[in-house]
């Protein structure tokens, strides 16, 4: 009886950790819930229910005696790392065909969670190149392409520095938007670019919550209403931070510039 309870605790721990990895790295709500239920079923828990939102996971398992066991987990960080989502997804499918022990499952989840991301120099290059591509899509020329690369790379470094000191997403986005607007404005006022907004908006594409906004609508239409509302609110508050940061920076700069 006691052993049984310990076992169920361990199963819930594995299911919660798997769900947490998917949720923290930008997976969909239905994927989190499905994965957790697969894991419970694999370990022989036929009757289980699970509920996930972007900020928390709740799981309940009913054992053979009819007793209900529940575990709740809080989700604090939200980012995008699609490799981890893919890896946990494959893990939950593979253990259905080739059963593993509890220790093995834990070790593999730990391995997935600590898997390395791309190095900073590569993501910085990617951010620069992405910004450059957007400047041309928005109608810029060669000078926009080159300065956009620089601004995007600088912005990426700033983002990772702000992530490192854990400033919080609202203020971090505010500062990044102010930096992007200042960079574009300075380039234009030194006569290096004909207008400020092309490089600024392109660099802002690194920040705008377009994906979050689309995901929010996707959750809402799919019936995950709570998630839809909270993701929508997150997207709106990021958009507000970006707009405020850029507008404040431009206002100060034009005041200084007119003097």
């Amino acid at each position: 009886m006691n052993v049984d309870k310990l076992l169920i605790g361990e199963i819930m721990d594995i299911a919660c950790k798997a769900g947490k990895i998917i949720l923290e790295n930008g997976g969909e709500i239905y994927r989190v819930e499905e994965t957790m239920l697969y894991i419970c079923r694999t370990f022989g828990m036929k009757e289980s229910e699970c509920y996930a939102t972007p900020t928390s996971i709740v799981i309940s398992i009913i054992d053979a005696q009819g007793e209900v066991h529940t575990r709740m987990m809080r989700i604090l960080s939200r980012g995008t790392n699609l490799f981890k989502v893919e890896a946990v997804n494959q893990f939950s499918r593979s253990i259905m065909q080739n059963p593993v022990t509890i220790e093995e499952a834990k070790a593999r989840l730990q391995e997935i969670n600590s898997s390395p991301s791309y190095p900073l120099w590569l993501t910085t290059l990617a951010a620069g190149l992405g910004t450059s591509a957007f400047t041309v899509i928005f109608g810029g020329g060669l000078s926009h392409f080159l300065w956009g690369f620089l601004l995007g790379a600088v912005l990426r470094l700033l983002i990772s520095a702000l992530e490192h000191i854990q400033l919080g997403y609202f203020t971090a986005n505010l500062l990044c938007a102010a930096t992007a607007a200042t960079g574009g404005w300075l380039l234009a006022s030194f006569g290096l670019l004909p207008e400020w907004w092309i490089v600024t908006i392109s660099a802002m594409m690194l920040l705008v919550p377009g994906l979050l906004f689309t995901n929010a609508l996707r959750d809402t239409v799919a019936g995950d209403l709570v998630s839809g509302i909270s993701r929508g609110l997150e997207a709106l508050s990021i958009a507000a931070a970006l707009g405020f940061g850029a507008a404040a920076a431009l206002m100060i700069l034009t005041m200084l510039g007119s003097r």
Partner: protein, 152 residues
């Protein structure tokens, strides 16, 4: 047209790296991003409204993402998330916030409505394809009677 295809593919691959997509999936994600923007440009050039173009493009990239997901045995969102970036109305959303703060309420309203329409069109396209694939894979599984779980 070809220039836009290449540029969106480059932007998609860059965002793929930022989203930590695996190396073996990056190129296909980039192709998908390029195709999405190509579909969008073709539709708008032929006189469709921008949100209708978004809908057509999002249908296209969702279908390709599902096909690539089956080929590479990975979740469809690996190919979808970065490919959406050139399409998402980030620029309009930013203009909406900026206009609102500067007091240009009419312009802000116009940008806001455009953002909602375009983002909504993108979401509807994705949802239509993903619900249809779910029905389809369930059918195929039942016919095969294998009982294995689709890798999606």
């Amino acid at each position: 047209m070809i220039k836009n295809f290449l540029l969106s593919a480059i932007a998609t691959i860059s965002f793929g790296i930022l989203f930590n997509v695996q190396k073996k999936n990056l190129l296909l994600a980039g192709v998908n991003g390029g195709l999405g923007y190509l579909l969008f440009s073709i539709s708008t050039v032929n006189g469709f409204e921008s949100h209708v173009g978004m809908f057509i493009a999002s249908l296209g990239i969702s279908v390709f993402a599902e096909i690539f997901a089956r080929l590479q045995k990975a979740p469809a969102s690996v190919f979808l998330a970065a490919a959406l970036i050139p399409l998402v109305p980030g620029g309009t959303l930013f203009q909406f916030a900026l206009n609102l703060l500067e007091g240009n309420n009419e312009l802000a309203l116009e940008c806001g409505i455009r953002t909602i329409l375009e983002a909504g069109a993108l979401a509807v396209g994705i949802i239509v394809v993903s619900s249809l694939t779910k029905v389809f894979t369930r059918r195929v599984l039942r016919q095969k009677q294998t009982g294995s779980i689709p890798n999606q």
